[in-house]
């Protein structure tokens, strides 16, 4: 009796152990290691024990490093532009296409494709399309008698090109999430407003959008987090260039580690990126809590009415 009791108590641990071990060994430990490494002057040919402790030098160095600040700025610019445009287009399309049409599920399937394909391949496709001579954009422009556009070789255009590619790949994500949110709205509220004579626009602005808000905020947050992780598409398209015009932080981290061989600096940079993401996540999480409460009140009100 006693022994079977003991094994029963151990079963949950037995089920959890592999996951905990893997997460500890391959996720938590590396992150802790990275924090430690950010205080070292360390290059890839050294073992970590041989690296010199330099305290906060890597962090202060980065604060004064013009190219780090440039790439920090580029990252913020890229992420905010991309999230804002994708939210507008994605939510707009969801509002437009939220109808009972045949083939909606086929449409959704087609829209997921860009997200499923490897970012490397997405970069490849767009690099081909942006090609100065054989690319479809410049060919079409030439056929119509316009000037060719230096898509990837001009610092302004290259950021635009990278943003366009990202919009192509990720707008469907927002579209699908907002469509799901729209279709789970309480029908009673919409029905009631229709009876009260609300126009389509009024419905959108006074009922649909406010009720969708909690989902939209989480969607924007997830997209924002992912926008900071974009690396492969930009690597293939421009490799950060020309100059530093598209060198986002992830790319700079990987170049600092592999080209400049400054692992300590790269780790410090990773920490800055993590802190930034953490602050953003917590801020949006708290904001979402506030809005959610508000939305529940709103919903109660519309249902009363």
């Amino acid at each position: 009796m006693q022994s079977s009791f003991n094994t029963n108590r151990l079963i949950p641990y037995f089920f959890l152990a592999p996951a905990l071990i893997i997460l500890g060994v391959a996720l938590l430990y590396p992150i802790g290691y990275m924090i430690y490494a950010s205080f070292l002057d360390w290059n890839p040919s050294q073992r970590i024990g041989e690296a010199d402790w330099v305290g906060l030098r890597n962090y202060t160095f980065l604060l004064h490093d013009a190219s780090f600040r440039e790439s920090f700025f580029v990252t913020l610019k890229f992420a905010s532009i991309v999230v804002i445009l994708e939210m507008i287009i994605g939510v707009g399309l969801a509002l437009l296409l939220d109808r009972n049409i045949r083939g909606m599920s086929a449409l959704r399937t087609i829209f997921i494709l860009p997200m499923m394909i490897a970012p490397i391949v997405v970069g490849l496709m767009w690099r081909y399309m942006y090609h100065p001579t054989v690319g479809i954009f410049n060919r079409t422009l030439k056929d119509w008698g316009f000037e060719a556009i230096p898509w990837l070789s001009d610092s302004w255009w290259s950021l635009v090109s990278v943003i366009i590619a990202d919009i192509w790949q990720w707008t469907p994500f927002i579209f699908i999430l907002s469509l799901a949110a729209l279709q789970s709205l309480p029908r009673s509220a919409l029905e009631a407003s229709r009876i009260d004579g609300a126009t389509g626009w009024q419905q959108i602005f006074y009922i649909k959008l406010p009720l969708m808000m909690p989902v939209l905020i989480v969607t924007a947050l997830l997209r924002l987090i992912d926008a900071f992780k974009v690396l492969e598409v930009i690597l293939v398209l421009t490799n950060g260039g020309p100059g530093l015009s598209t060198e986002i932080l992830s790319l700079r981290i990987s170049r600092t580690a592999s080209e400049f061989r400054e692992l300590g600096v790269a780790a410090a940079m990773s920490n800055y990126l993590l802190i930034l993401l953490f602050v953003l996540t917590v801020a949006m999480f708290l904001y979402n809590k506030v809005v959610e409460k508000h939305a529940i009140k709103q919903q109660a009100k519309t249902e009363e009415a």
């Binding site: 081909y128 992912d226 932080l249 981290i253």
Partner: protein, 298 residues
Amino acid sequence: MGFFSQKPAHNNQTEKQNPAFYALVFVLIIMALGPIVLMLSTSLRLNVDIMNDSASWLIMPTLRNYETVLCNALWYTPEHVDYCNPTFGRALGNSLIVSLISTIITLIVGCMAAYALVRFRFMGRGVVSMSTLMMRMVPPAVLLVPVFGIWTFQYGLDGSYSGIILVYVAMNLPFVIWILQSFIVQVPIQLEEAAKMDGANALQTFFLVVLPVIKPGLAAASIFTFRIAWNEFLLANALLDRNTRTVPVTIVNSITEHDIDWGVIMATGMLLAVPPIIFTFIASKQIITGMTAGAVKG
């Protein structure tokens, strides 16, 4: 998972829409598929035709680029290949091994953990969804330095399959545990109690009763895991060596060369894109469930 159920039954017939609406849908489909179709058509043409300015769409499609890419995996030797570069064929095999094994391990380990969390009430769902979000927050670039350092100097796993598989399993576990949890919660406890009455032990209950019921969740989880392992570049690039490289790494290596053979590179890209495309068509419903689960249902 009722978010996609359409409006009530009385509204069953599709509404009549005006033509502008269908025009919009048509344009959207063209925009979504255009780049993919362009890649496919480029992969079916020779580089001479691609570079030729006057080239039209009427050129006979050819599979030569695919033969070049796969030359060492084919049972015959293509005539037009003078020198067979084994890199791509080998990378394709590596990619398959790495993604399949890491998907299987992630599923098994994730399933067990999710089951324990639900049935034995260890931690609330809040803890798991919080750590899933935290994990999602960590860009792979952040893992680059520590994973390189630890795998090379401490674990001695650089250049091996097991090293990269360990990384992918760890990266995907939080999400997989979290999504499976939401499926396991729905398995009625009576089902398991009945199995126990019939004398099944905990392991048998888990494998014979619980697993078959949560198949849709397993499908969603496996597609997401496979996709990440199959598509990942940065860590694979840092950890793997010449013989174990995966396809994304070889693609990036070959575009840094001065003149790109677009036909061949597009054929490689197409081969890399095909498995995810197939999954999308087979299991789009599960994919959408996985995607929306976090945001729509909290």
